[in-house]
């Protein structure tokens, strides 16, 4: 992929240049992207290049930048729309938005939602759909990547036929655009932005549903809403629910039996698909039947016959679910009607862990119970479903949306605080990666609890969403998604009078968390010191040090306005100097250093190492001298009685000497006369 992160440049007319392409924001291209995003016409700004389109992303639904960075060149993936570049463009309340450029697909989509069309032939389906998609998935899997956007309206090919090309899947969180019918049931229950990265098996399931749609010529589960579709699949199993009475070619039917299995272990591998039908391995292709109860469980008037359906129903009516969980009827049904002893015991353990039936524990207990009832299900919390690794994108949606939902923010905060992720992991210890998930849950709670500057929920938000623009009110409109952009935005904000319309500091919680996440914890100590309002002198110095470090990393771009603002905030740091002469020198040097826009100079003026050492040494020497003088003064005053005794002794001796001299003189005088 050609990575061309260039500053957008306005060109004559409405077109703007982004990453070497002229994008026309006035000309939308329908049918190329889903999830409510808009695609615009784009053309190469210079020379030859493929015709392209640009997708405008949304701040609160972060694009998959890490995946884009690791994608191979387009030549290695001829059946995938590989991004050509990306850049920021736009103004207004939402600020600049990221635009991702893709080459135009080779033709129209294979099928649009709700459309009925002629079924594809068996050979066409295997050779031109299944195998090209499997090759793409294989190339991605080699790099540890997934597509998460396989569906008929995201497969393109020329009208004349040929292998399909997979459309874009990187401008939104993984699986965001996937209709519920194209996701395994557990994933389908999740909020669109909370699906997490998923697994290759999720892509294979989506491929299976896509093949089914193309083989039958109609959209799977059309006419059913998402909940009804999920319920149907839970009750009957995906294969039976999706295929229904459709007649399929034998080879395709065999492939779909594997791909649409509710047990991921039954889905065929990419190498099998690449050689299909010759590569099909002998394995039991029929998934295990859903375990049914002998009598239905009446949950809120809804009869349920299996555990996963019950979990889905309880999750949909959270408070009633908590009541049902605490009623003896549930355990009795699991034990006697469903006759699943291990599950009964597990649920009993969970419920017994809440002897008091406390309200605060109800959410935790129901979340754990649902995880036990539906081992393939997502993490449920107050009716929200997400895969644990989708926490970051959920937080982004909750915090970065144009009208953030306080309720969603609170729910997610409570979920983190309750360690629901760790508890989910402990309910699925048989799955790989649960140890790491448990650790992630604990770390997330520790981070969310942290109160020092540069930590807390804000830090968690940026840590889990690399590329998310800084949401600080100071720079939100600037859409600063990188540290250089943040510095430039803060410099612009500092140019006002007062700086940033009276904001107390450029290092608010969002800015600090953004910097902390951007530098991967390298300056956490400095950030914490900068937020210590109880010690304004140290906080001022630390603030200067933070920006000095950032400026050095950004090759020293001058930031005079920001430096003046920070210098004013750091003025109390002058008091950290002991010597009055040193303070006067620093006070004099401060405005000059700030005007230079060089934070290193500012830091040197405020906290120069050599001068600081000299000041400390001088102060220590002065204090020692002062102490010695005080001690000497004390000793002199204390020695007054000794001086009196000494005077008496010396005076007595002197008097005797004088008397003896006079006596001797008299003798001599009388002897001479």
């Amino acid at each position: 992929m050609r990575r061309r992160l260039e500053r957008e440049r306005c060109v004559a007319g409405r077109e703007v240049e982004i990453a070497g392409y002229l994008v026309d924001p006035g000309r939308a291209l329908p049918g190329l992207v889903g999830g409510g995003l808009t695609a615009f016409v784009a053309r190469p700004a210079r020379g030859d290049g493929p015709a392209a389109f640009a997708v405008r992303c949304r701040t609160h639904h972060p694009p998959r930048l890490r995946v884009i960075e690791r994608l191979p060149d387009a030549e290695a993936l001829p059946n995938l729309l590989v991004p050509l570049g990306q850049g920021l463009h736009g103004e207004g309340e939402e600020g600049p938005q990221r635009h991702i450029l893709y080459p135009l697909p080779p033709g129209p989509p294979m099928m649009v939602p709700g459309e009925r069309r002629a079924p594809l032939g068996e050979t066409d389906l295997i050779q031109n759909v299944a195998k090209p998609v499997a090759r793409v998935l294989g190339e991605l899997a080699e790099r540890g990547l997934l597509h998460r956007g396989i569906r008929p309206d995201n497969l393109f090919r020329p009208a004349a036929g040929g292998p399909v090309t997979l459309g874009e899947a990187f401008a939104l969180p993984p699986g965001f655009c996937q209709p519920a019918a194209f996701e395994p049931t557990g994933m389908a229950m999740c909020a669109p932005c909370g699906k997490g990265e998923g697994t290759l098996e999720d892509d294979l399931y989506a491929l299976g549903v896509t093949l089914l749609a193309l083989a039958t010529g109609h959209w799977p589960l059309a006419g059913l809403d998402d909940r009804a579709g999920i319920r149907l699949r839970l009750e009957r199993g995906s294969l039976a629910a999706l295929v229904g009475q459709a007649r399929l070619p034998a080879s395709v039917a065999t492939l779909l039996r594997g791909l649409l299995s509710d047990d991921p272990g039954f889905r065929p591998g990419l190498d099998e698909i690449a050689l299909w039908p010759g590569g099909a391995r002998a394995r039991p292709q029929t998934a295990r039947a859903v375990r049914k109860a002998t009598r239905p469980f009446d949950f809120a008037g809804e009869p349920v016959l299996d555990a996963r359906s019950l979990a889905f129903a309880m999750a949909g009516r959270w408070q009633e679910g908590i009541r049902a969980m605490r009623s003896p009827a549930l355990l009795a049904w699991l034990d006697r009607a469903l006759t699943d002893q291990p599950l009964t015991e597990r649920v009993r353990e969970i419920v017994d862990a809440d002897p008091l039936g406390g309200e605060s524990d109800g959410d935790v207990l129901l979340s754990r119970t649902l995880a036990a009832l539906d081992p393939q299900g997502p993490l449920w919390w107050r009716g929200i479903a997400l895969m644990p690794d989708g926490l970051g994108t959920m937080l982004a949606e909750a915090h970065a949306a144009p009208q953030p939902s306080a309720e969603r923010q609170r729910d997610l905060a409570d979920m983190i605080e309750a360690q629901a992720i760790s508890r989910y992991a402990t309910e699925h210890l048989d799955r790989p990666g649960m140890i790491e998930l448990d650790k992630m849950g604990r770390l997330a709670r520790a981070q969310a609890r942290a109160r020092v500057l540069g930590s807390g929920r804000e830090r968690l938000l940026y840590q889990l969403n690399p590329g998310l623009p800084c949401l600080s009110p100071l720079v939100r409109k600037a859409g600063a998604a990188t540290l250089p952009a943040l510095l430039a935005a803060l410099e612009a904000a500092a140019a006002g009078s007062p700086p940033a319309a009276g904001a107390p500091t450029p290092l608010d919680r969002h800015v600090a968390a953004f910097i902390g996440a951007g530098l991967d914890g390298a300056i956490d100590t400095l950030l914490a010191a900068a937020g210590d309002t109880g010690r304004p002198e140290e906080a001022g110095l630390a603030t200067v040090a933070v920006f000095a470090r950032l400026q050095r990393l950004q090759k020293g771009t001058k930031l005079p306005n920001l430096a003046r603002w920070v210098a004013a905030l750091a003025a109390p740091a002058v008091a950290t100097w002991h010597g009055k002469a040193a303070r006067a020198r620093v006070e004099k040097a401060l405005p000059e250093a700030a005007a230079s826009g060089d934070f290193a100079l500012l830091l040197e003026a405020l906290d120069g190492e050599a001068a600081r050492a000299e000041d400390r040494a001088g102060f220590a020497e002065a204090a020692a001298t002062f102490a010695r003088a005080a001690a000497a003064e004390f000793a002199l005053r204390a020695e007054a009685p000794l001086r009196q005794a000494e005077a008496a002794r010396i005076g007595g001796l002197a008097a005797q000497a004088v008397a003896l001299v006079l006596l001797g003189g008299t003798v001599l005088l009388l002897a001479g006369t």
Partner: protein
């Protein structure tokens, strides 16, 4: 002042000085007796002329007799002219009577003794005055230095100095406690 110094002397030293005073008293009496026996006029002159010195020795309780000794020396110096006159004038009772009849003899002897007493009492005060003036000068220099330091480093230097002193005192106390 001498009394004050004597008061501070330890008890064994006081006992020793008491014994010495008694010895001196008896030696003085014995000497005077011998003088009266061998040379009666000289003895009588010494007995009468050195009465202030005897009184000074009797009343001076300082172990070093810092008052009595100057009194004795000058008392003797004041009596020497009379002794010379007595010895050169025949050394008989009439010469003694003539000398004692002259008021100038005893006035000179007693006046000299009084001068000795004054010397013993004033010289220590003069010495103390010198010592106190030296101490005051040192104190003023120390205060000036502290003021200079405060001017250059602010009040924090005094606080830091106090902290240092407190730390040193704590260390000394700890050391003393550890040693004990």
């Amino acid at each position: 002042m001498a009394k004050a110094a004597a008061k501070t002397a330890p008890a064994p030293a006081r006992q020793r000085s008491g014994r010495r005073a008694r010895w001196a008293f008896w030696a003085f009496g014995l000497g005077t007796g011998v003088a009266l026996g061998i040379a009666l006029p000289t003895g009588i002159l010494l007995l009468i002329g050195l009465l202030p010195a005897a009184a000074a020795f009797a009343s001076d309780d300082h172990p070093d007799k810092t008052t009595a000794r100057p009194v004795l020396c000058l008392n003797l110096a004041g009596l020497l002219p009379a002794l010379k006159t007595l010895w050169l004038g025949g050394h008989d009772m009439s010469a003694l009577a003539s000398l004692l009849g002259d008021p100038g003899t005893l006035v000179l002897a007693y006046g000299a003794a009084a001068f000795g007493f004054a010397l013993a009492r004033t010289i220590p005060y003069a010495v103390l005055l010198v010592l106190e003036m030296r101490a005051a000068t040192t104190l003023r220099l120390l205060a000036d230095r502290q003021a200079e330091l405060t001017e250059a480093w602010g009040e924090a230097v005094a606080q830091e100095a106090n902290r240092l002193v407190a730390r040193a005192a704590a260390a000394a106390v700890k050391k003393a406690g550890g040693g004990g």
